[in-house]
Structures are given as C-alpha cells and as structure tokens.
C-alpha cells in the first residue's frame, strides 16, 4: 500500500517536473517578450535595463533553474503586464472561477437529477425521449456557441439578463462573491448554466440508467408491496441508492469544469483565471502563462493522485494490477 502511494507521488512529481520544463522552454520559443514590453521608442539603455530587470539576459538553463528555485518558494515571477507577482494575480482571480465552477456543479445536479429521474421513469414516453434528445445536444454542441446563443436570446433580444461581467460583489470571509446580491446572481446565472451544460447532460445520463436499474431491484418491489407512495419510493429509496456514483462522477468533473471555464469566462467576460490566461496569451505575458499552466497542471495531478489513492483503498485489485505492471 505504502509502496503504491510513494510510487504514485513520485510519478506525479515527475509529470510536474516534465510539464514545468516543457512549459518554461516552450514559452521561450514564442515571440520575444522584450518587443511586447518595451515601447518601440525606447532607447538601447532602457531596453537593456528592462532585460536585466526581468532576468532575460541570462542563459535559458540558468533562467529555468532560477525559476525552479523560486517556484519551490512559491514565487513564479512577476507579470509583465501588471507588474505584480504572477501567482498573486492568479489567486486574486481564482475566487471568481471557483464560484462559477461551484455554481455550475450545483446547477448540473439540481437540473440533471430530476430530469434524469423523469427520463428513467418513462424511458419510452415523450418526456423521456425529449430529455434524452436534449442531453445528446448537451454533449455534442460546442459550449462557446451555446453561450453566444444564450447571450443573443436572453441578453440582447429579451433583455432579461446582463451580457457580461460579474456584477456587484460582496465580501464573504474576505473573498468577493457574486451570489449574495440580486445583481450578482443575475450575472452568474447564464455563465453558470453554460458551463454546466455538459455536466447536466452527464448527470441526466447517469441518473437515467441508475434509476432504470434500481427500479428492477427487489427492494423497490418490496416497497411497492408495502404500499408506499410512488413519490416516496422514487424520492427516498431509489434516489439514495443511485446518488453515490453520481456524486462521485460529478466531483471528479470539478477539474474539467475549471479547465472548461476558460471558454465560458471568455464568452461572458467573467473576470476569473480562465479569462486571465487567454488575455495573458494574447499579450505574451510569460510569467502569468507559466504560473497558470503549472498551477492548473498541479491541481489536476493532485485530483488524480487523490482519486487513485482512494480507489486503491477501496479496491485492492487496482493495487495488485499496479504492482504487476
């Protein structure tokens, strides 16, 4: 068990190191940030000053080692565009992304569960078929295009919801959040729904197949025989039994949702980390690109590590297969 965990952690570190090298060297291959940072009118002395200030005069391998040393201490460089520490800049944007992602997860469960149950109970009815058809669309439509259509219909044509931004924020435990005010909620609704779309479809699928399977079980027949109301059988007995796998899958989707928020944040101009990375790529703000990519890769590696370890605790076969291979 311990050997398995140590091997997994070592593997994660190797992946992280390879990624950091890839990202660092790769970022240096595109464009010269000096051209972006310094106005064309600046003279040679000014240019040299900036180059030295950002450490761009040193050889690449030395820059990488300085970068690694600093990264270990939590310093991933200063943003070229904002001249604040890159990591701080990302952490400043993080609450907005986390709020949007959490709202999306919540929506996918709140909308997906009842719809999936409906479809599971009447798989051949018109309602069930319609729900499944819509869920196929949720899988296959490009998210950004659905976002545009939402904006066009609900913001431009009907004028019910704002087109972009985060709206009024309020402080909750020192973190700005949108969901506490009406204005903030109105801003949150469309992007959260857009981000949730794929997961709503996923939850509908899972709930439907789960419900169909559960309805054939003996405990449901027994509950019916006892004369329980249908709503109680579905709402308590069936739901309890199908909820665990659904919750697991949705929790596992959290990382993907954070990654996908890049698209939604760009469409709705939501000021989170996803919009930050796209803006940073546009102006070639290297430290922010590097810091964001490393941070999100780290988040993913951690999620995968935790999932692997949980699985190995729950299912010994995973460990055994691992030690053989």
């Amino acid at each position: 068990m311990l050997a398995f965990i140590i091997r997994r952690i070592l593997q994660s570190l190797v992946v992280l190191l390879v990624m950091s090298l890839l990202v660092f060297v790769g970022v240096h291959a595109i464009g010269n940030p000096v051209d972006v940072l310094i106005s064309p009118d600046a003279d040679q002395i000014e240019r040299a000053k900036v180059i030295v200030a950002f450490g761009l005069d040193k050889p690449l391998w030395l820059q990488y080692f300085i970068f690694l040393k600093n990264a270990a201490g939590g310093d991933l460089g200063r943003s070229f565009a904002y001249s604040t520490p890159a990591l701080a800049l990302i952490f400043e944007r993080m609450p907005a992304t986390l709020e949007l992602s959490s709202a999306a997860i919540l929506l996918s469960v709140v909308l997906g569960l009842p719809l999936g149950l409906l479809a599971g109970l009447r798989p051949n009815g018109l309602v069930g078929k319609t729900i499944m058809a819509v869920s196929i669309l949720g899988f296959s439509l490009p998210t950004f295009w659905v976002g545009l259509m939402l904006i066009m219909v609900f913001a431009v044509q009907l004028g019910w919801l704002p087109t972009s931004g985060r709206g009024e924020t309020q402080m909750l435990f020192g973190v700005p959040v949108s969901f506490l005010s009406w204005d903030g909620l109105r801003h949150l609704l469309m992007p959260a729904f857009n981000l949730a779309l794929f997961n709503i479809a996923l939850v509908i699928r899972l709930t439907r197949s789960g419900a169909q399977e559960a309805l054939m079980q003996d405990y449901v027949k027994f509950a019916r025989a006892k004369g329980l109301r249908n709503s109680r059988i579905i709402g308590v007995h069936v739901l309890k039994n199908i909820l665990i796998p659904i919750v697991t899958v949705v929790a596992l989707q959290f990382g993907s949702i954070i990654a996908f928020s890049i698209v939604t944040e760009t469409v709705f101009a939501w000021p989170g980390m996803g919009k930050l990375i796209i803006d940073s790529i546009r102006v070639l703000d290297r430290p922010v690109i590097v810091a964001y990519l490393l941070l999100i890769v780290t988040i993913f590696i951690l999620i995968n590590l935790v999932v692997d370890m949980l699985y190995s605790v729950l299912d010994p076969r995973v460990r055994l297969a691992e030690s053989k291979g």
Binding site: I136, S140, P142, L148, V156, L293
Partner: protein, 301 residues
C-alpha cells in the same frame, strides 16, 4: 426485420453493411446532409458567389448588410448578409467549412496512424514498451483535451500546422488505447499463432494480420473524433488560439461576429454557428450508426 437466409448467402459483407447502415432513417438523413456539407467544402471555390479573401472584390460600402440585401453596386445579393468588411457571409462560411473539415480530418488521420501504431506495438510487444506507452497515454487522458491543446498552443502560437499538432496530441491516446485493447484480444487467437508459426516478421503480423481485425472499433472512434476535433478547433479559434485570421475557420468567423451580436447584428455569428452545428451533429449521427452497425454484439443474428 428478419433477413431471409437465402438473401444473406448472396450478400457480400459490404452489401450487408450498406443495408444495415441505411436501415435507420435518421442516420440516412445525417449521411446525406454530411455528404452535402463535405461536397460544399470541397467545391467551395467553385460554388461560392465571391472569393471572400480577395480583398479587391470586397466593398466596404457593403459592410454589415442584413441577409437578403443587394450589394451597393447591385451586382449581387448577399443571401446570408455581410460581415464588417463587406464580405459575403455565404462564401465565408463555405470556405470556413472547408478549413474546419480539413483540419478535423487531417488531424484525425495523423492521430489515428500514430495512435494505431503505438497501440499495436503496445498490444503486440507487451512488457516495458507496453507499460511505457500506456502510462503516457493514461497520464495524458487524465487531463481534459482543451487543457492539453491550450498548453501546446500557448507554447507554440497560432497556425494551421500548430493546431493540427495540438489536435493530434489530444487524440492519439484514444486510438492507442482502443487499438491496444483490441490487439490484446486478437493476439491470443489462433490465426496469430499460425502466422507466428509460419515465421512471418513481427511487422507483417502486426500490420497485415492484427491490424485488419482491430479496425472496426477504431473506425467508430475516429468518426466520433473528427466531430470533436472540429468542435475543439472551433473553440480554440474562437478563443483566439487556433487558426490565424488569414485562414478563417468557422470558429474564427463566429468570434468575428461576436461583438456585432451584442448590437443585434446576429447573422455574422449565427450562420457560421449553424454551419458548425450541422457539421458536428451530422458526423455524430453517422458515427453513432457506424457503431451500431459495426458492433457485432448488437448485430441481429
């Protein structure tokens, strides 16, 4: 639907495949629509009312005209309106489909060849080679595709070659995994043993004997992947990470019209969006039907 034995005897496998495939009305409709889209993409330069990238042909006076309006000099009617540079949207969309489909198919073919070779190698050779290839594939599949593509494009910049590389990097692991699992099953069968006993070279066994028997699941995965590749390319181009402005795919056309969408000029974004949607959905329909037809477990005996 019970095919008579006599008819089955006379039927070649290909004929049976065709009959099964067109047994579904939705799949047939999807196939016909997809064929039209692909034809439109191939013949875009011939059927477009205008060459949308010949700047000399564009007239700024015609910019942002609504669908159905005639150009200022009266020489043509813009069926789907014009964009901010006075470009005919219909022509821009036809060229856009051409680029999107090309990028999707090209990246899928390259990724398929790469993943297939690695998967066959892993499945046939086993041991350390297998462990290494599959470990890399596993690690890669633990990241969402958009993140892999974003990392690569943030590092390499924009361009048609770069987006194809990014899409190949995203896709190869699916093929490697599918091929390996099919190869593992096939490897144990007697015809491989026979081929080995005949003293055929491993390469010949891998590509002439193993590969043809691993193909059906791969065809299905590849068909579905073309749709997701087109969709991902559109998303990346929309974000400004994919194709350069000189090679506008559907995603870029949609992005281009986004700012005008807010002021009610819907056509610049919406029509390319519908074209993208039609392409992705029809490919999915055809791929789903392929899966049903090629899956031996679902086939009627």
């Amino acid at each position: 639907m019970e095919p008579t034995p006599a008819r089955n005897m006379a039927e070649t496998p290909w004929q049976r495949f065709v009959r099964n495939f067109f047994g579904s009305r939705i799949a047939t409709a999807g196939f016909v629509l997809l064929a039209l889209i692909v034809l439109a993409a191939i013949f875009a330069p011939v059927i477009s009312p205008q060459n949308p990238y010949d700047l000399a042909k564009l007239d700024v006076m015609d910019s942002r005209l609504e669908p159905g309006q005639a150009s200022v000099d009266g020489s043509m009617t813009y069926l789907l309106g014009t964009d901010d540079q006075g470009r005919d949207m219909l022509s821009a969309i036809l060229y856009g489909i051409r680029i999107s489909v090309m990028v999707g198919v090209l990246s899928t073919v390259i990724a398929l060849s790469l993943g297939l070779t690695l998967g066959l190698l892993a499945g046939y050779a086993g041991g350390r080679i297998e462990a290494f290839i599959m470990r890399v594939a596993d690690i890669q599949l633990s990241f969402p595709p958009i993140l892999i593509a974003l990392i690569l494009l943030a590092l390499t910049g924009r361009g048609i070659d770069k987006i194809v590389i990014a899409l190949v990097a995203v896709q190869w692991a699916y093929y490697a995994r599918t091929t390996r699992s099919a190869a593992l099953v096939e490897r144990k069968k007697e015809y491989i043993e026979a081929a080995t006993a005949l003293g055929l070279s491993p390469l010949r066994i891998m590509f002439r004997h193993l590969l043809p028997n691993c193909l059906p699941p791969l065809i299905v995965v590849a068909a579905l992947q073309v749709a997701s590749a087109i969709s991902l390319e559109a998303t990346l181009s929309f974000l400004g990470l994919g194709l350069p402005i000189t090679e506008p795919s559907l995603g870029l056309l949609i992005a281009n019209g986004f700012q005008y969408l807010l002021s009610g000029k819907y056509w610049i974004s919406v029509f390319p969006g519908i074209a993208l949607l039609a392409t992705v959905v029809t490919i999915n329909l055809v791929a789903d039907q392929l899966r049903d037809v090629l899956n031996p477990r679902l086939q009627t005996q």
